[in-house]
Symmetry: C3
């Protein structure tokens, strides 16, 4: 039981923008021509030929023609969805009319591209009435071109305070007789322009983290059956920072992120999937440190924790504090300090176990995770129990549902997924929970 | 001057759920029969015989009968309020109809339980129109059974994005002619299902902290004269973590929390009350460390701060940084680094002083807190002044108002409160500010 | 293209309150008489003779007369705007009527003050309907006194949950035929009373940080073309803490803050302006440490990072972790660990460069910032490139727009600004971007 979604894809990991027309190149469509030929893990779930900010204003007319040409030629074979971004602005009727004309042209069936256009991305939207103006353009375009009503989806970039407020209202407005907002697909944050619109400043010019905006976008998506996508991560060399941002986003329910390069696409296509192997973590003064598997043990090899056996027990030193503990206390303490990041295989196995238990009439079962943790050569066996009931099961299911959605919609990634996890895990992961 | 509350209780510290029917026991009502007999500090402010998630679906019919039996027998003597949770789901009319039937049966006066039922808890609500559907069930039940309109209160579990959005709208909707939402009582967060509904993921499967949800719940409660309650804290062994969560909640204005065991009830009944004795804190590199009272001094005995007398003053080393200070500078620095957690007695005394000053025509007075702080044997006398005006007074009053609410509503805890604070402090605390 | 503002000032840095009548002084108007004569960097952008919380209830009638006398005498020469605060409360018609009478009297043209009154500040507002009641008072006062409709602006203190919710609704309500909410000017947080209204508690009685409230206030201001101002910072000795709060606020788009003393005014008038000189920062274990310029180098002289040359490269030790790096890796690592806080001059120069490039038909250019970083005597030359496009340009413009707004509205601060930056930088900064 959940909010009804109007689209095939339940998740979108990657939103990849490409300039539609670049000046000074032999082929001004070079960037989108290359992007249209991405396949597999480097190909995004949603590809956005970007006829707005990524393309110089003087090139946008040529950009429309480039989109048409490239999508007509390569669109049918592209493995993801295709959603061009056109111009729009809540404060400018002129810009809105330009955006309308761009969409009208790209969607003209005579131009041969529309069959492979899944929708359009509308930037710089304002309050909900502005979203309705964009929707009205879609209605006219579909009617003028004889396309099925609602066949073109609408995604928006949230980059103003009023658009953020509108996130609360989508659910209420969808389905009213004079709009067709059921065509809504993605809610994408645009932090650069949002920062400008909010008139925010940081000393170094770095973007503020905007946790509330991301929460509100994710919640708006959840309430209306849409998909939330975070904005661009400018420092494209900083892969670690990009991963951390995505982990923070996923804890907010925002699974997708903007990608600026095929490398970012690859990282972002992979990051939300469960890892191949599980990892034990030790909490060292508030930070999680990965333990290193060696033989049957999980070894801590840092300097901030030490453990020695004494005559009557153990001395555990964490961040300069000494704890004198007997064996049971030591085990309790380490249970509290450790946690486990389950692998894809672990999650599937736990779900299978819970399903079998449910079949047998049990409502809740204990799942056990064991490890031998070694610190300074002293080994301690731990068993972590966790009660699984229906709610735990369903919450654990999210990464699996994501995996299944990817598997169903992206056959071009099957080989890479099997290489990553092994065919057996992939087979069980596609099967479990259905 | 504040928003009008429709209920006796202004605060609810504890929301304790118990399974209504457990399979494989001689007495399937064992858990609620035991819970109904809790008294004193282990008895919750609100007890929730849980006929939803805590009880297997196949046992819920029996659960309804168990609730009736146990409440009919023990309800009159139970010291807290009793609010059974029934099934409900914003996406399922079938589930909603089951919930209606469960409430209709439990509230039937012929079954002898309704006199001791204070209300019902409705889980999995959606947008405000869904809340109104639940309210409609209450209206029908009260009319069918000849109960006074509004006599059954309604509490909801906020565990979806649309319910979070609805928190903004309660105040506007209450009091409209075709609903009776004035019966609203508790707004309870349900983070497990909320996490599922938001499709959020964390590496270890731990719940995200959801600070915005808790803020919005607390704010919605404040705006509508209701009471905000945080969701379950699963790691029932981790008392320290439970306390930290409650401290974080209280800083958001969310005083109540879910409890899963009588031990959690006891911890959560006690945590929001001011401490018996005050404590001095020293800020060591961003973390507050408690000083140890020894004789007349407050002693720091850690390794991260050192203080030595030199020829011309003092050297204070904090987190590896040396500061050479004269006596006044040292005092200033320590004033900035220390803070004081007042005891119940301190708060009452300050309020009494301010009331006397107000009586004498003064609008603001300075309250002084003195201590001798000792670091490495060097003693420094500190005096912390704080200006109290009407606003400070009123803000300081919150824990006292809470205490008085507890004292008024929970005679069964009087003995334990007097043991905790002494009879004199209890007497003055119940009297001050009235 | 941005939301239309109805006021001259686009930014307000400082909101300075003074008691209108103090008991026991020869001249009860002493405090506001002194405040009215502040000039230059110690004079606030908005001065608030405070006839509410800062003034004892018994003195408020005298306070009204004092406001009239002082503003009639000094108002014309005061360099900032003047917005008295009157009494108001969402729960009390009596208090609201008193506030109305206070405003009616202060705004009476026969009293000679109204020409220099820019508006009124309304505290303790509730939901949007309560804001409309206040607006109705303004309408009546303007009509009764023959003042131009909308000539008195209205600012509110957000200090209740319902007022926070109303922040979402201002934009929708402004411009409806039966209100004149276009007169709205400032949205000011009042965390002391908000904390009381939310019934929040912290162990030491310190105010909670309320990040969500500040976000929502800033967003509400952004959506409705208003200005967001944070509440009072009580610890007036703690200048560093005040600065940190303002930096945090600016990252939320909240540029203004309450000031309680002329010293706080000076700090808060200066803090949002770009620095005179740029600064290099090194990220040391998550904290930004300022490097010290010495000759052509930026020197790190702390103990937490060390760098030594080895036979085959370098050893960089950060927070106890050793990294063995060749020259390129070292440079990459330091590029990641360093950041640069640009000076006013840097920002102006970058904007000028981008404008020239745009003129020449380029949409994006790389801006380079170079430095030689020295750690333990080892020097490394770094070049940081950042791509500037239209969006970067516009986001970077915020501090310059603020500067220009200050320069235009506060001629009394010209001398101090020129002393701070030099006349050349001031001239270019006032010119760029127009």
């Amino acid at each position: 039981m959940s909010v009804q979604r109007n689209y095939d894809r339940e998740f979108v990991r990657t939103f990849f923008t490409s300039p539609t027309a670049v000046q000074g190149e032999d082929d001004s469509a070079k960037m989108i021509r290359r992007a249209a030929q991405l396949r597999g893990i480097q190909a995004p779930d949603v590809w956005v030929p970007d006829n707005e900010d990524a393309t110089a204003p003087s090139m946008r007319e040529e950009g429309v023609q480039n989109i048409i040409d490239v999508v007509a030629e390569h669109g049918a074979d592209f493995p993801g969805e295709i959603h061009p971004r056109v111009v729009w602005h809540r404060e400018s009727p002129t810009t809105r009319y330009s955006g309308f004309q761009q969409m009208l042209e790209i969607a003209d069936p005579e131009n041969g591209a529309v069959d492979n256009i899944d929708g359009f991305v509308i930037p710089e939207v304002g309050d909900i009435d502005d979203w309705k103006k964009a929707d009205e353009c879609f209605q006219i375009i579909e009617a003028e071109h004889g396309l099925e009503e609602g066949s073109l989806s609408m995604s928006v970039i949230v980059e103003s305070g009023e658009a953020e407020i509108a996130l609360n209202r989508i659910r209420d407005e969808m389905g009213k007789p004079s709009n067709t907002l059921e065509r809504m697909f993605l809610l994408v944050d645009g932090e650069v322009d949002y920062t400008k619109d909010m008139r925010a400043m940081t000393p170094t010019g770095e973007l503020p983290p905007w946790p509330e905006l991301r929460h509100n976008t994710s919640r708006g998506a959840s309430a209306a059956g849409l998909i939330a996508v975070d904005g661009p991560y400018d420092n494209i060399r900083d892969v670690e920072g990009y991963r951390e941002r995505m982990q923070d986003n996923r804890a907010k329910g925002m699974t997708g992120i903007w990608s600026l390069t095929p490398t970012q696409v690859e990282v972002a296509n992979t990051a939300p999937l469960p890892p191949k192997t599980g990892t034990w973590l030790l909490d060292v003064d508030g930070e999680d440190v990965e333990l290193t598997p060696e033989g049957d043990s999980q070894v801590y090899d840092g300097d901030d924790v030490s453990l020695t056996e004494t005559d009557d027990g153990y001395t555990l030193v964490v961040a300069g504090d000494d704890h004198h503990l007997d064996e049971d206390e030591l085990r309790e303490t380490l249970l509290d300090l450790t946690s486990y990041v389950p692998s894809m295989d672990d999650i599937v196995e736990s779900m299978e176990e819970f399903e079998a238990a449910k079949e047998a009439g049990k409502g809740a079962i204990a799942m056990t995770q064991s490890a031998t943790v070694a610190i300074d050569g002293v080994e301690v066996s731990l068993e972590k129990d966790r009660m699984w009931d229906e709610a735990t099961y369903q919450a654990a299911q999210t990464p699996i549902t994501l995996f299944q959605d990817v598997y169903r919609n992206r056959p071009d990634q099957h080989a890479e997924l099997e290489e990553m996890y092994g065919a057996d895990v992939v087979a069980r992961a596609t099967d479990v929970g259905n």
